[in-house]
Subunit: 344 residues, 2 copies
C-alpha cells in the first residue's frame, strides 16, 4: 500500500493552488502521512502533520511523494528541483501531474534510476488518442458533467461527493477523472488539459467509453469555465466530447469575476446556465439539473442564505454538497433525467 | 527558392482533404511544380501537372516535397511511408503538418540524414507556450477572426483574400495563420490544434502579439466550428485567445449538417451568429461583421441567389470573396469597426 508525502511547499494552507494535496487527503484511496512545507512546519492540513523537510517526514514511513500543487501552466518552479532531488535520494517514488514530465527530465530520471525509484507522470496523455468517433452517444450510461463559473470552484469535489453518495445507495456510479488530482484519487483517467487540442473531444469520448465499462451513472469532472479567458477551450472540448445528459453548475458564492483575471466578469447565473445549455449539441441536448454552491468562505447562516438566494435566482435545486451533504443534490440530479433515459 | 512537389496521393481532385495542396498552389509564396497522385497522372490541379511517381516529377526540378493532404487526426497513413521514402531518396526536403512529426520517426529521420535532406514539421508547437497573460487585449491592432459553421468551408481562404485586398489598398494588414497550410503559405504561425489544450488560448494570444509586430490589421485564420462535435474546443480556445474585435462567419451555401458527422445539424445562421457573439468575453465584445459564403458548389446564378438569401436571412453584408472578389467583404469589415477603435 502507498503512503504519501504530499509536497506542498509554500501552498499547504492554500486549497486553491494546493488543491491536489487537499483532494488526495480528503478523497484518495491511499493515506497521506505528511505534508512538506518548510514555511509551516508543525501545522496540520486536514489533520495531516506538516513537516519542514524530507528528513523530518521519513519516520512516518512514506513510500511515495506526490507533487501536491497546481500552478498555472503546470510547469515546475526551479525551487522544486531541490525538493524532488531530496525525495528521490530518500528512496521515494514520485507522482506528479505537471505539464513538464518528470520522467523526461534527464537529471531527475537519472537520479531516479540510480536510487531505484519510479517517476509517474499522471498528466501524460495516452499515445493513441484521436478525434471522437461518435461512440460517446452510444453508451448505455447516464452522463453527468460538472461545469463551472470559474476554475477551482469545486467541479471535481462535487462529482466525487455525488459519486460516493450514489454508490452508498447501491447505484453503479463512477467518478470519471479529467485532471491530475482526480486521477491520483481514482487511479485512472486522462488529464484532458494535457492532450493535444485536436484530440480534446476524443479524450472526453474515451473517458465516457471507459467509464461505461465500470458503471452506468457517470459523474464526469468538468474543467475550467466557458467564460474563462484561459481555459474555455478545454471546457467546451470536454463538454462536447463527453456528450452529457445533465450538467451540474458549480459556483463559489459571491464570486463576480474570474479569479486572477481582472476585468473578466462572471455573467449572472441564469445567463451562464442558458449559455451552457445553448452550447449543447443538438444530438445530445443537455440541461443544467442543479447548482452546486461552494459556500466555503461563508459562515453557516450566510451559507444557507446564499443557497436560498441562488435557488430563487435560477429556479433550480441548489445546495452545497460538501457542507450540507450530497444527497439533496443527488436527488435533484436523479429526478431530472431526460425522458427516454433509463434510470441507472 | 523552393520548388514544391505536392504529395496528394488519392486526393489531388479533392480540395477538402487535399486542401493543403490547393492552398499552397493558390496562395503560397513558392511555386508548386507538380502534384503527386498515382491515381490521376496526366491531369492538372489549378494548372499544375499531376505526376504518377516521384521519378516522373524530377525533370521539373522540385527542391521540396510537401505533404499536401489533411486527414482527420493528422496521422500518417501507412501507404505514405513509401512515398516519403521515395522523395527523401530523391534528395528532396520534406515539409509536413501532421500530428506525427516526421523528424521524430526513426526510419525517416535516419534516411533523411543519410540523403542530406531536411524534415520540417510545421505542426510542432513552440516549446515555451503557456496560458494567456492578458497581452491579447493590449495590442494596437484590429483583430478580425473567421469563424465557421463547419470545418473546411473557407475560413483560411477568406482571411488570405481579405489580407491581400487590404494590402493592395496600402493597409498594414497581416494574415495570421493558425494551421499547417496557412503556415506553409505565410512562413510563420502556430498550428493551434497541435498545442497542448491548456495552452490553446495562450497560442492564440502569442499569434496576435506576433501579428501586431507585423501590422495593425490582423486577419486571423479561424479553426473548426463552435458546433463541431470534434473540434469545438479548438474553435473556442482560439477565439478567446485572440480576442477579436470582429468576426467573419464562413459558411458553405446549402450545408445543413456537419460534414462527416451525421445527426449533427448546423443551426440556422442567425442562431449561429448569436451564439458566436454571446461567446465573446465581456472584456472584448465581438460582433459578426459579415458573412463569407462559399458558393463553390453552385453555378453563377445560384451563387448570386444564395448570397442574396443569406444577406436577407441574417441582415448582414454577405458575399463570396473567392468568386466575386474580396473588396465588398473588406468594405463591410472596415465599415463595422467598433467605436473607439482607430481605423487601421
Amino acid at each position: 500500500v502507498k503512503r504519501y508525502l504530499a509536497l506542498a511547499e509554500g501552498y499547504s494552507a492554500d486549497d486553491h493552488y494546493g488543491k491536489t494535496t487537499y483532494g488526495v487527503i480528503r478523497y484518495g484511496a491511499d493515506p497521506v502521512v505528511a505534508v512538506l512545507d518548510s514555511t509551516r512546519p508543525g501545522e496540520t492540513v486536514e489533520g495531516v502533520p506538516v513537516v519542514g523537510s524530507v528528513a523530518e517526514a521519513l519516520p512516518l514511513e512514506p513510500t511515495t511523494a506526490l507533487v501536491g500543487v497546481a500552478v498555472a501552466g503546470g510547469r515546475l518552479p526551479p525551487v522544486w528541483r531541490e525538493i524532488l532531488r531530496d525525495v528521490i535520494e530518500a528512496g521515494l517514488d514520485v507522482e506528479a501531474g505537471m505539464h513538464e514530465f518528470l520522467a523526461d527530465d534527464p537529471e531527475l530520471s537519472e537520479l531516479a534510476a540510480r536510487h531505484g525509484v519510479e517517476l509517474r507522470d499522471y498528466r501524460r496523455p495516452p499515445a493513441d488518442l484521436s478525434v471522437p468517433s461518435g461512440a460517446n452517444l452510444e453508451q448505455d450510461a447516464v452522463v453527468v458533467l460538472t461545469v463551472g463559473s470559474d476554475c477551482a470552484v469545486g467541479k471535481k469535489t462535487v462529482v466525487v461527493e455525488l459519486d460516493r453518495a450514489a454508490r452508498a445507495r447501491g447505484l453503479r456510479s463512477v467518478f470519471v477523472p479529467t485532471g491530475q488530482t482526480g486521477i491520483m484519487i481514482a487511479g485512472w483517467g486522462i488529464a484532458v488539459d494535457a492532450v493535444v487540442s485536436d484530440f480534446l473531444a476524443g479524450a472526453g469520448e474515451r473517458l465516457v467509453v471507459e467509464g461505461a465499462k465500470r458503471g452506468n451513472l457517470l459523474f464526469v469532472e468538468g474543467q475550467g469555465s466557458i467564460v474563462h479567458p484561459q481555459f474555455s477551450g478545454v471546457t467546451l472540448g470536454l463538454y462536447h466530447g463527453t456528450m452529457p445528459h445533465l450538467l451540474v453548475l458549480c459556483h463559489r458564492a459571491g464570486d463576480v469575476e474570474i479569479e486572477g483575471s481582472p476585468g473578466h466578469a462572471i455573467p449572472p447565473l441564469p445567463e451562464l446556465i442558458e449559455l451552457y445549455e445553448r452550447l449543447a449539441l443538438p444530438a445530445r441536448p443537455a440541461r443544467v439539473a442543479a447548482i452546486a454552491l461552494n459556500t466555503g468562505r461563508l459562515d453557516e447562516t450566510e451559507a444557507r442564505e446564499a443557497v436560498d438566494a441562488v435557488a430563487r435566482e435560477t429556479g433550480l435545486p441548489t445546495d452545497d454538497p460538501v457542507r450540507f451533504g450530497p444527497d439533496p443534490l443527488l436527488d435533484a440530479v436523479l429526478g431530472r433525467l431526460p425522458s427516454g433515459i433509463t434510470r441507472p
